[in-house]
Symmetry: C2
Subunit: 227 residues, 2 copies
DNA sequence: TTTATAAATGTATTTTTTACACTTCCAAAT
DNA sequence: ATTTGGAAGTGTAAAAAATACATTTATAAA
């Protein structure tokens, strides 16, 4: 048998839930659809799978096309396959979420009319994209409490306050400052720099960086990140 | 626009990781492939997505075709899309896992030469099916400790010992009997029947059933299953 | 009636999580 | 030079959860 004859093929797309953090709020990057149907409505950035790429590559390409970024943390979520999910044509879509450091992308590709929204102020999205975002949030919450992915959303140097604010935004709950810092310090995977952020207070607060090497060594010794 | 022209379609398949439990071991149901390539090798049960069904329906159909079972617990896992994953033709596959009560399926569809394997004795599988099984195991472990899905693998009535053995098989670790029973009883979602299983000892051990109604009420009151 | 075997049961200890308040530092204002 | 305001930084006691652990009980078979 040279191929699977008589089997029907289907359009396969990827849709990206792009998360960012502006030191205050968890954000999501959306684009304004400029063609019918649903023209003018907000949507996730997406694209079709090409024959010479796998899904990870398609998601990476689509993300790069909008943001210009490479080497972004992405993770596949799941497939959406309701028969009528896309009114134009039967399309199965695989969702991915991306975590990007907002400061890093200089300019968004203008042609998509993209805009960052606070996750709480997200507009209603087309098709099943609202569901995709909801599911992505729940995966992000889980992942953030078992893997040190939060740092993907922060600049290289960050303060404890920023880190706590980020986790509060992801988990959707307020955390006790002392308990949070004690827990983080207990993990022993951050480096305290000499530098201070003088923007937030007279006293200033120390910048930290994530010690990825140390983390990897600890993991290989059986350490499991847990927040 | 009536459809997305110029976009290439792709074959989309589902593959099922079918778990069972025979009161002793966690098992997986595999089929023997009877056509080239890889003829004679073991494989997951799978099938192609049809144009008039979504992925859940495809997975349900495929499972039913092999086992004759309906109303089986299934959960979508993830997509596999490596360009050369299927040597016959480019195919993207979405994996699902199913939890079935082994006693329930009277007869397997003979035409697939299906066989139950202890999960530890699983043979090498075709394509990327080994990876699919590995990922399914890890999802099963997570799910089993946060949702009461273990009962899907057990008969209506089961003993505490059987339940513990099941969880040990899923989690891959031995558990302390008293702590296990205390924890389960603490959840307060089982009904202790009057009946005893006399097969395992002179004394006999009580049968329990899962109180799904009570569980649902508790969940709606904010209760979260956690083992 | 003795014996063998799995079933059933509770508590003390350790670990983890939570709750909670005062002092320090420094720029800006006086 | 001194005061002031505001966020940064820090530790401990109490509560809750997880763990370790050993004896008695019920029954069929010998």
């Amino acid at each position: 048998m040279k191929n699977y004859n008589n089997q029907k093929k289907v359009l396969l797309a990827v849709d990206c839930i792009i998360f960012g953090f502006d030191k205050k709020n968890l954000k999501i990057l959306l684009i304004k659809r400029d063609f019918e149907p649903e023209k003018g409505h907000w949507s996730l950035m997406g694209g079709f799978l090409k024959t010479d790429e796998n899904l990870d590559e398609a998601a990476t390409r689509v993300l790069n096309h909008l943001t210009g970024l490479d080497n972004v943390y992405m993770e596949q979520l799941r497939s959406y396959s309701a028969l009528d999910r896309d009114p134009v044509e039967r399309t199965v879509s695989v969702s991915y979420y991306a975590l990007i450091n907002i400061e890093e992308h200089s300019t968004l590709n203008e042609s998509f009319s993209a805009k960052w929204f606070n996750i709480e102020d997200k507009p209603d999205l087309i098709f099943d994209h609202n569901l995709m975002v909801k599911n992505a949030m729940s995966r992000l919450r889980y992942r953030a409490s078992t893997k040190p992915i939060g740092f993907e959303l922060l600049p290289e140097k960050f303060t404890m306050k920023q880190l706590q604010t980020l986790y509060e935004a992801i988990l959707g709950e307020t955390l006790d400052k002392r308990n949070f810092i004690n827990k983080i310090n207990g993990l022993d995977i951050l480096i305290k720099t000499e530098e201070k952020d003088m923007g937030s207070s007279r006293k200033g607060s120390y910048f930290y960086t994530f010690d990825e090497e140390k983390y990897k060594v600890k993991v290989s010794d059986g350490f499991a990140f847990k927040l």
